[in-house]
Protein backbone atom coordinates (compact mmCIF):
# COMPACT_ATOMS: atom_id res chain seq x y z
CA UNK A 1 0.00 0.00 0.00
CA UNK A 2 2.87 2.31 0.94
CA UNK A 3 4.67 1.57 -2.32
CA UNK A 4 1.39 1.83 -4.18
CA UNK A 5 0.92 5.43 -2.97
CA UNK A 6 4.42 6.40 -4.05
CA UNK A 7 3.98 4.71 -7.42
CA UNK A 8 0.64 6.35 -8.01
CA UNK A 9 1.88 9.84 -7.10
CA UNK A 10 4.92 9.43 -9.33
CA UNK A 11 2.72 8.29 -12.19
CA UNK A 12 0.44 11.29 -11.73
CA UNK A 13 3.46 13.60 -11.64
CA UNK A 14 4.80 12.05 -14.84
CA UNK A 15 1.52 12.80 -16.56
CA UNK A 16 2.04 16.47 -15.73
CA UNK A 17 5.73 16.67 -16.34
CA UNK A 18 5.80 20.43 -16.58
CA UNK A 19 4.99 20.84 -12.89
CA UNK A 20 8.30 19.20 -12.01
CA UNK A 21 10.16 21.44 -14.40
CA UNK A 22 8.45 24.54 -12.99
CA UNK A 23 9.78 23.82 -9.52
CA UNK A 24 13.22 23.09 -10.90
CA UNK A 25 13.39 26.29 -12.93
CA UNK A 26 12.07 28.33 -10.04
CA UNK A 27 15.02 27.01 -8.04
CA UNK A 28 17.50 27.87 -10.78
CA UNK A 29 16.06 31.34 -11.35
CA UNK A 30 16.08 32.29 -7.66
CA UNK A 31 19.70 31.17 -7.32
CA UNK A 32 20.66 33.08 -10.47
CA UNK A 33 19.01 36.28 -9.26
CA UNK A 34 21.44 36.75 -6.38
CA UNK A 35 24.55 37.54 -8.45
CA UNK A 36 22.45 40.04 -10.38
CA UNK A 37 21.36 41.72 -7.18
CA UNK A 38 24.70 41.61 -5.39
CA UNK A 39 27.20 41.97 -8.22
CA UNK A 40 29.57 39.53 -9.88
CA UNK A 41 32.28 39.74 -7.17
CA UNK A 42 33.46 36.12 -7.10
CA UNK A 43 34.65 36.02 -3.50
CA UNK A 44 31.40 37.33 -2.08
CA UNK A 45 29.43 34.92 -4.25
CA UNK A 46 31.48 32.00 -3.07
CA UNK A 47 30.80 32.80 0.59
CA UNK A 48 27.05 33.27 0.13
CA UNK A 49 26.57 30.35 -2.26
CA UNK A 50 25.59 27.67 0.32
CA UNK A 51 23.04 29.96 1.96
CA UNK A 52 21.58 31.09 -1.35
CA UNK A 53 21.19 27.56 -2.69
CA UNK A 54 19.64 26.38 0.55
CA UNK A 55 17.18 29.28 0.81
CA UNK A 56 16.15 28.70 -2.80
CA UNK A 57 15.67 24.99 -2.05
CA UNK A 58 13.47 25.88 0.94
CA UNK A 59 11.31 28.15 -1.19
CA UNK A 60 11.07 25.71 -4.08
CA UNK A 61 10.07 22.86 -1.80
CA UNK A 62 7.56 25.05 0.04
CA UNK A 63 5.88 26.40 -3.10
CA UNK A 64 5.18 22.89 -4.36
CA UNK A 65 3.65 21.71 -1.05
CA UNK A 66 0.11 22.40 -2.24
CA UNK A 67 0.46 19.56 -4.69
CA UNK A 68 0.86 16.87 -2.01
CA UNK A 69 -2.80 16.74 -1.02
CA UNK A 70 -4.86 19.29 -2.94
CA UNK A 71 -5.58 17.26 -6.10
CA UNK A 72 -6.52 14.17 -4.10
CA UNK A 73 -8.64 16.36 -1.88
CA UNK A 74 -10.52 17.84 -4.82
CA UNK A 75 -11.31 14.54 -6.57
CA UNK A 76 -12.20 12.70 -3.37
CA UNK A 77 -9.30 10.24 -3.36
CA UNK A 78 -8.10 11.58 -0.04
CA UNK A 79 -11.42 10.78 1.58
CA UNK A 80 -11.14 7.18 0.38
CA UNK A 81 -7.64 7.00 1.83
CA UNK A 82 -8.95 8.26 5.16
CA UNK A 83 -11.65 5.60 5.41
CA UNK A 84 -9.42 2.79 4.13
CA UNK A 85 -8.31 0.25 6.74
CA UNK A 86 -4.64 1.04 6.05
CA UNK A 87 -2.67 3.15 8.50
CA UNK A 88 -3.08 6.77 7.48
CA UNK A 89 0.37 7.67 8.78
CA UNK A 90 1.93 5.21 6.37
CA UNK A 91 -0.05 6.57 3.42
CA UNK A 92 0.95 10.10 4.37
CA UNK A 93 4.58 9.05 4.63
CA UNK A 94 4.32 7.64 1.12
CA UNK A 95 2.87 10.88 -0.19
CA UNK A 96 5.59 12.97 1.47
CA UNK A 97 8.28 10.72 0.03
CA UNK A 98 6.70 10.95 -3.41
CA UNK A 99 6.77 14.74 -3.06
CA UNK A 100 10.47 14.51 -2.23
CA UNK A 101 11.16 12.27 -5.21
CA UNK A 102 9.36 14.71 -7.50
CA UNK A 103 10.74 18.00 -6.16
CA UNK A 104 13.78 17.15 -4.04
CA UNK A 105 15.71 14.85 -6.36
CA UNK A 106 15.75 17.27 -9.33
CA UNK A 107 17.08 20.02 -7.03
CA UNK A 108 19.87 17.77 -5.79
CA UNK A 109 20.79 16.78 -9.33
CA UNK A 110 20.98 20.37 -10.57
CA UNK A 111 22.81 21.72 -7.48
CA UNK A 112 26.37 20.86 -8.69
CA UNK A 113 25.73 23.02 -11.74
CA UNK A 114 24.72 25.95 -9.55
CA UNK A 115 27.77 25.32 -7.38
CA UNK A 116 29.97 25.71 -10.44
CA UNK A 117 28.14 28.95 -11.29
CA UNK A 118 29.16 30.25 -7.89
CA UNK A 119 32.72 28.99 -8.30
CA UNK A 120 32.57 26.58 -5.37
CA UNK A 121 35.45 24.10 -5.07
CA UNK A 122 34.67 20.50 -5.99
CA UNK A 123 34.55 19.06 -2.47
CA UNK A 124 32.22 21.87 -1.36
CA UNK A 125 29.92 21.01 -4.27
CA UNK A 126 29.85 17.39 -3.14
CA UNK A 127 29.03 18.42 0.43
CA UNK A 128 26.29 20.72 -0.90
CA UNK A 129 24.67 17.88 -2.83
CA UNK A 130 25.04 15.56 0.15
CA UNK A 131 23.49 18.08 2.55
CA UNK A 132 20.60 18.57 0.12
CA UNK A 133 20.17 14.81 -0.09
CA UNK A 134 19.80 14.61 3.69
CA UNK A 135 17.89 17.86 4.14
CA UNK A 136 15.27 18.03 1.40
CA UNK A 137 13.33 14.94 2.64
CA UNK A 138 12.95 16.75 5.98
CA UNK A 139 11.47 19.71 4.11
CA UNK A 140 8.89 17.47 2.42
CA UNK A 141 8.03 15.72 5.69
CA UNK A 142 7.56 18.93 7.71
CA UNK A 143 5.85 20.64 4.81
CA UNK A 144 3.26 17.87 4.63
CA UNK A 145 1.99 18.95 8.08
CA UNK A 146 1.50 22.50 6.84
CA UNK A 147 -0.13 21.31 3.62
CA UNK A 148 -2.53 19.09 5.57
CA UNK A 149 -3.50 21.86 7.99
CA UNK A 150 -4.22 24.42 5.27
CA UNK A 151 -6.12 22.01 3.02
CA UNK A 152 -8.97 23.79 1.27
CA UNK A 153 -8.42 27.14 2.99
CA UNK A 154 -8.51 30.45 1.21
CA UNK A 155 -5.05 31.95 0.85
CA UNK A 156 -3.57 28.57 1.72
CA UNK A 157 -0.30 29.17 -0.11
CA UNK A 158 0.75 32.23 1.88
CA UNK A 159 -0.40 30.63 5.09
CA UNK A 160 1.72 27.53 4.48
CA UNK A 161 4.82 29.71 4.23
CA UNK A 162 4.05 31.33 7.60
CA UNK A 163 3.56 27.95 9.25
CA UNK A 164 6.34 26.00 7.64
CA UNK A 165 9.27 28.37 7.12
CA UNK A 166 10.04 28.89 10.84
CA UNK A 167 10.14 25.11 11.23
CA UNK A 168 12.56 24.83 8.30
CA UNK A 169 15.19 26.98 10.04
CA UNK A 170 17.22 24.18 11.67
CA UNK A 171 17.54 22.42 8.31
CA UNK A 172 18.70 25.65 6.68
CA UNK A 173 21.24 26.31 9.45
CA UNK A 174 22.85 22.89 9.31
CA UNK A 175 22.48 22.41 5.56
CA UNK A 176 24.34 25.56 4.62
CA UNK A 177 26.50 25.21 7.74
CA UNK A 178 27.84 21.89 6.47
CA UNK A 179 29.11 23.48 3.27
CA UNK A 180 30.61 26.47 5.09
CA UNK A 181 32.28 24.30 7.70
CA UNK A 182 33.94 22.20 5.03
CA UNK A 183 35.04 25.38 3.24
CA UNK A 184 36.88 26.65 6.33
CA UNK A 185 38.41 23.23 6.97
CA UNK A 186 36.34 22.20 9.99
CA UNK A 187 34.85 19.19 8.25
CA UNK A 188 31.16 18.77 7.54
CA UNK A 189 30.72 15.55 9.51
CA UNK A 190 29.04 17.09 12.56
CA UNK A 191 26.54 19.08 10.51
CA UNK A 192 25.69 16.16 8.27
CA UNK A 193 25.21 13.87 11.27
CA UNK A 194 22.80 16.36 12.79
CA UNK A 195 20.88 16.60 9.52
CA UNK A 196 20.69 12.81 9.50
CA UNK A 197 19.38 12.87 13.07
CA UNK A 198 16.72 15.43 12.11
CA UNK A 199 15.71 13.24 9.20
CA UNK A 200 15.21 10.25 11.49
CA UNK A 201 13.18 12.28 13.99
CA UNK A 202 11.09 13.75 11.19
CA UNK A 203 10.47 10.28 9.71
CA UNK A 204 9.09 9.10 13.05
CA UNK A 205 7.08 12.12 14.17
CA UNK A 206 5.80 14.00 11.13
CA UNK A 207 3.67 11.27 9.47
CA UNK A 208 1.72 10.97 12.69
CA UNK A 209 1.24 14.74 12.98
CA UNK A 210 0.28 14.99 9.31
CA UNK A 211 -2.25 12.19 9.66
CA UNK A 212 -3.97 13.86 12.60
CA UNK A 213 -3.89 17.21 10.75
CA UNK A 214 -5.57 15.54 7.75
CA UNK A 215 -8.29 14.04 9.94
CA UNK A 216 -8.96 17.50 11.40
CA UNK A 217 -9.10 19.12 7.98
CA UNK A 218 -11.38 16.48 6.48
CA UNK A 219 -13.93 16.38 9.30
Amino acid sequence: MFLWVIQRDLLLAMRRRFDILTTLFFFVIVVSLFPLGIGPEINILRTIAPGVVWVAALLASMLSLGRIFSNDYLDGTLEQMLISPQSLSLLVLGKALAHWLITGIPLILISPLLGIQYNLPLDAILILALSLLLGTPILSLIGAIGAALTLGLRGGGMLVSLLVLPLYIPVLVFGSGAVEASAVGLGAGAHLSLLGAFLLIALVITPWATASALRISME
Binding site: I145, L149, T150, L153, R154, G155, G156, L159, L162, L163, L165, P166, L167, I169, P170, V173, F174, G177, E180, A181, F198, I205, A209, S212, A213, I216, S217, E219
Partner: protein, 246 residues
Amino acid sequence: MAINWFKYSSPASFYTLAGKMIPYFSVVASGLFLLGLYISFFIAPTDSQQSEAYRIIFIHVPAAWMSMFLYLIMAIWAAIGLAFNTRLSAMIATAIAPTGAMFTFLALWTGALWGKPMWGAWWVWDARLTSELILLFLYIGFMSLQAAINDPRRADKAGAVIALVGAVNIPIIYFSVKWWNTLHQGASVSLTQSPKMATTMLTGMLIMGLACWIYSIVVILIRTRAIILERERHTVWVSELQGSSQ
Protein backbone atom coordinates in the same frame (compact mmCIF):
# COMPACT_ATOMS: atom_id res chain seq x y z
CA MET B 1 -11.63 18.79 49.46
CA ALA B 2 -14.27 17.60 47.09
CA ILE B 3 -14.26 20.35 44.55
CA ASN B 4 -15.83 19.42 41.27
CA TRP B 5 -13.14 20.77 38.95
CA PHE B 6 -14.97 19.63 35.88
CA LYS B 7 -17.74 22.06 36.66
CA TYR B 8 -15.53 24.87 35.43
CA SER B 9 -14.67 23.13 32.19
CA SER B 10 -18.10 24.16 30.98
CA PRO B 11 -17.91 27.57 29.30
CA ALA B 12 -21.03 28.83 31.11
CA SER B 13 -19.71 28.29 34.64
CA PHE B 14 -16.20 29.34 33.66
CA TYR B 15 -17.61 32.58 32.33
CA THR B 16 -19.05 33.47 35.75
CA LEU B 17 -15.92 32.29 37.61
CA ALA B 18 -13.65 34.34 35.35
CA GLY B 19 -15.90 37.33 35.84
CA LYS B 20 -15.45 37.04 39.60
CA MET B 21 -11.68 36.51 39.35
CA ILE B 22 -10.85 39.37 37.00
CA PRO B 23 -11.28 42.26 39.50
CA TYR B 24 -9.06 40.63 42.15
CA PHE B 25 -6.31 39.78 39.71
CA SER B 26 -6.48 43.29 38.21
CA VAL B 27 -5.92 44.84 41.63
CA VAL B 28 -3.01 42.50 42.36
CA ALA B 29 -1.46 43.17 38.96
CA SER B 30 -1.71 46.96 39.32
CA GLY B 31 -0.26 46.81 42.84
CA LEU B 32 2.66 44.66 41.72
CA PHE B 33 3.30 46.92 38.73
CA LEU B 34 3.38 50.01 40.96
CA LEU B 35 5.70 48.31 43.45
CA GLY B 36 7.94 46.92 40.72
CA LEU B 37 8.19 50.25 38.92
CA TYR B 38 8.95 52.04 42.19
CA ILE B 39 11.79 49.62 42.95
CA SER B 40 13.15 49.77 39.42
CA PHE B 41 13.15 53.57 39.16
CA PHE B 42 13.90 54.76 42.70
CA ILE B 43 15.42 51.99 44.81
CA ALA B 44 17.60 49.98 42.40
CA PRO B 45 21.10 51.53 42.29
CA THR B 46 22.59 53.05 39.18
CA ASP B 47 24.78 50.60 37.28
CA SER B 48 28.47 51.43 37.25
CA GLN B 49 28.97 50.56 33.57
CA GLN B 50 25.62 51.16 31.97
CA SER B 51 24.44 54.10 34.16
CA GLU B 52 20.66 54.59 33.92
CA ALA B 53 20.16 52.87 30.58
CA TYR B 54 20.13 49.42 32.15
CA ARG B 55 16.78 50.14 33.83
CA ILE B 56 14.99 48.86 30.74
CA ILE B 57 15.93 45.40 32.02
CA PHE B 58 12.97 45.59 34.39
CA ILE B 59 10.54 45.27 31.51
CA HIS B 60 12.80 43.53 28.98
CA VAL B 61 13.58 40.42 30.98
CA PRO B 62 10.02 39.82 32.29
CA ALA B 63 8.68 40.25 28.75
CA ALA B 64 11.17 37.69 27.45
CA TRP B 65 10.26 35.27 30.24
CA MET B 66 6.57 35.65 29.57
CA SER B 67 6.98 35.23 25.82
CA MET B 68 8.50 31.78 26.25
CA PHE B 69 6.39 30.74 29.20
CA LEU B 70 3.12 31.68 27.49
CA TYR B 71 4.01 29.61 24.41
CA LEU B 72 4.48 26.61 26.64
CA ILE B 73 1.18 27.23 28.44
CA MET B 74 -0.57 27.74 25.12
CA ALA B 75 0.79 24.45 23.80
CA ILE B 76 -0.29 22.66 26.99
CA TRP B 77 -3.87 24.00 26.79
CA ALA B 78 -3.95 23.18 23.09
CA ALA B 79 -2.80 19.63 23.85
CA ILE B 80 -5.45 19.21 26.54
CA GLY B 81 -8.06 20.51 24.11
CA LEU B 82 -6.92 18.09 21.44
CA ALA B 83 -6.68 15.10 23.76
CA PHE B 84 -9.89 15.48 25.77
CA ASN B 85 -11.87 17.40 23.16
CA THR B 86 -12.76 20.12 25.64
CA ARG B 87 -13.93 23.35 24.06
CA LEU B 88 -12.76 25.63 26.85
CA SER B 89 -9.10 24.53 26.74
CA ALA B 90 -8.86 25.40 23.07
CA MET B 91 -10.51 28.75 23.71
CA ILE B 92 -7.91 29.54 26.38
CA ALA B 93 -5.10 28.58 24.00
CA THR B 94 -6.57 30.95 21.42
CA ALA B 95 -6.83 33.66 24.06
CA ILE B 96 -3.18 33.25 25.12
CA ALA B 97 -1.66 33.70 21.65
CA PRO B 98 -2.10 37.51 21.22
CA THR B 99 -0.70 38.21 24.71
CA GLY B 100 2.26 35.93 24.04
CA ALA B 101 2.93 37.61 20.72
CA MET B 102 2.67 41.01 22.41
CA PHE B 103 5.29 40.07 25.02
CA THR B 104 7.56 38.63 22.33
CA PHE B 105 7.33 41.86 20.38
CA LEU B 106 7.90 43.88 23.55
CA ALA B 107 11.00 41.86 24.39
CA LEU B 108 12.40 42.42 20.89
CA TRP B 109 11.53 46.13 20.91
CA THR B 110 12.97 46.90 24.34
CA GLY B 111 15.98 44.77 23.43
CA ALA B 112 16.59 46.96 20.40
CA LEU B 113 16.22 50.12 22.49
CA TRP B 114 18.69 48.70 24.99
CA GLY B 115 21.10 47.42 22.38
CA LYS B 116 21.56 50.77 20.66
CA PRO B 117 23.32 52.59 23.55
CA MET B 118 25.11 49.45 24.81
CA TRP B 119 26.39 47.75 21.65
CA GLY B 120 25.87 50.61 19.20
CA ALA B 121 23.44 48.55 17.15
CA TRP B 122 19.67 48.10 17.19
CA TRP B 123 19.98 44.51 16.18
CA VAL B 124 22.68 41.86 16.24
CA TRP B 125 22.23 38.32 14.98
CA ASP B 126 22.79 36.85 18.39
CA ALA B 127 21.33 33.43 19.19
CA ARG B 128 18.85 34.73 21.75
CA LEU B 129 17.60 37.58 19.61
CA THR B 130 17.19 35.36 16.60
CA SER B 131 15.33 32.64 18.46
CA GLU B 132 13.04 35.25 20.02
CA LEU B 133 12.29 36.52 16.51
CA ILE B 134 11.48 32.98 15.38
CA LEU B 135 9.19 32.62 18.41
CA LEU B 136 7.30 35.68 17.17
CA PHE B 137 6.93 33.97 13.78
CA LEU B 138 5.53 30.87 15.48
CA TYR B 139 2.92 32.94 17.36
CA ILE B 140 1.95 34.73 14.14
CA GLY B 141 1.68 31.41 12.29
CA PHE B 142 -0.63 30.04 15.00
CA MET B 143 -2.85 33.12 14.96
CA SER B 144 -3.08 33.40 11.19
CA LEU B 145 -3.92 29.70 10.82
CA GLN B 146 -6.77 30.09 13.30
CA ALA B 147 -7.92 33.28 11.61
CA ALA B 148 -8.04 31.60 8.20
CA ILE B 149 -10.37 28.79 9.30
CA ASN B 150 -14.05 29.65 9.55
CA ASP B 151 -15.21 26.63 11.50
CA PRO B 152 -14.13 27.26 15.14
CA ARG B 153 -13.80 23.56 16.03
CA ARG B 154 -11.47 22.92 13.10
CA ALA B 155 -9.57 26.14 13.92
CA ASP B 156 -9.06 24.93 17.49
CA LYS B 157 -7.71 21.56 16.48
CA ALA B 158 -5.56 22.79 13.60
CA GLY B 159 -4.11 25.45 15.88
CA ALA B 160 -3.41 22.80 18.49
CA VAL B 161 -1.46 20.67 16.00
CA ILE B 162 0.69 23.59 14.88
CA ALA B 163 1.24 24.76 18.48
CA LEU B 164 2.44 21.28 19.46
CA VAL B 165 4.66 20.91 16.41
CA GLY B 166 6.11 24.33 17.26
CA ALA B 167 6.65 23.33 20.90
CA VAL B 168 8.56 20.21 19.83
CA ASN B 169 10.63 22.35 17.49
CA ILE B 170 11.51 25.16 19.91
CA PRO B 171 14.48 23.39 21.54
CA ILE B 172 15.76 22.26 18.14
CA ILE B 173 15.46 25.78 16.75
CA TYR B 174 17.11 27.28 19.80
CA PHE B 175 20.15 25.03 19.68
CA SER B 176 20.53 25.24 15.93
CA VAL B 177 20.51 29.03 16.10
CA LYS B 178 23.02 28.90 18.95
CA TRP B 179 25.44 26.68 17.02
CA TRP B 180 24.89 28.71 13.88
CA ASN B 181 25.92 31.77 15.87
CA THR B 182 29.10 30.23 17.29
CA LEU B 183 30.11 29.00 13.84
CA HIS B 184 29.89 32.48 12.39
CA GLN B 185 31.27 34.49 15.30
CA GLY B 186 30.01 37.67 13.66
CA ALA B 187 29.09 40.05 16.44
CA SER B 188 31.37 39.71 19.42
CA VAL B 189 28.65 40.49 21.93
CA SER B 190 28.25 38.19 24.85
CA LEU B 191 24.94 38.22 26.61
CA THR B 192 25.71 35.29 28.82
CA GLN B 193 28.50 36.80 30.90
CA SER B 194 26.37 39.25 32.78
CA PRO B 195 27.92 40.90 35.81
CA LYS B 196 26.63 39.92 39.20
CA MET B 197 23.37 41.61 39.87
CA ALA B 198 22.50 43.62 42.94
CA THR B 199 19.80 42.05 45.08
CA THR B 200 17.45 45.02 44.69
CA MET B 201 17.73 44.74 40.92
CA LEU B 202 16.84 41.06 41.07
CA THR B 203 13.93 41.77 43.41
CA GLY B 204 12.63 44.48 41.09
CA MET B 205 12.89 42.17 38.11
CA LEU B 206 11.10 39.33 39.89
CA ILE B 207 8.28 41.61 41.03
CA MET B 208 7.90 42.99 37.54
CA GLY B 209 7.90 39.42 36.22
CA LEU B 210 5.15 38.49 38.66
CA ALA B 211 3.20 41.61 37.68
CA CYS B 212 3.43 40.68 33.99
CA TRP B 213 2.29 37.18 34.88
CA ILE B 214 -0.81 38.32 36.75
CA TYR B 215 -1.48 40.88 34.02
CA SER B 216 -1.41 38.05 31.45
CA ILE B 217 -3.91 36.07 33.52
CA VAL B 218 -6.28 39.05 33.64
CA VAL B 219 -6.06 39.76 29.92
CA ILE B 220 -6.38 36.09 29.00
CA LEU B 221 -9.45 35.69 31.22
CA ILE B 222 -11.07 38.74 29.65
CA ARG B 223 -10.29 37.49 26.16
CA THR B 224 -11.54 33.99 26.97
CA ARG B 225 -14.81 35.50 28.20
CA ALA B 226 -15.15 37.38 24.92
CA ILE B 227 -14.47 34.21 22.92
CA ILE B 228 -17.00 32.26 25.01
CA LEU B 229 -19.69 34.89 24.37
CA GLU B 230 -18.94 34.92 20.66
CA ARG B 231 -19.04 31.15 20.27
CA GLU B 232 -21.99 30.50 22.58
CA ARG B 233 -24.13 33.37 21.37
CA HIS B 234 -26.88 30.99 20.24
CA THR B 235 -27.23 29.27 23.61
CA VAL B 236 -29.90 29.91 26.18
CA TRP B 237 -27.60 31.05 28.98
CA VAL B 238 -26.04 33.81 26.88
CA SER B 239 -29.41 35.20 25.87
CA GLU B 240 -30.52 35.03 29.53
CA LEU B 241 -27.34 36.92 30.43
CA GLN B 242 -28.16 39.59 27.90
CA GLY B 243 -31.73 39.78 29.16
CA SER B 244 -30.64 40.32 32.75
CA SER B 245 -28.09 43.01 31.90
CA GLN B 246 -30.57 45.09 29.95
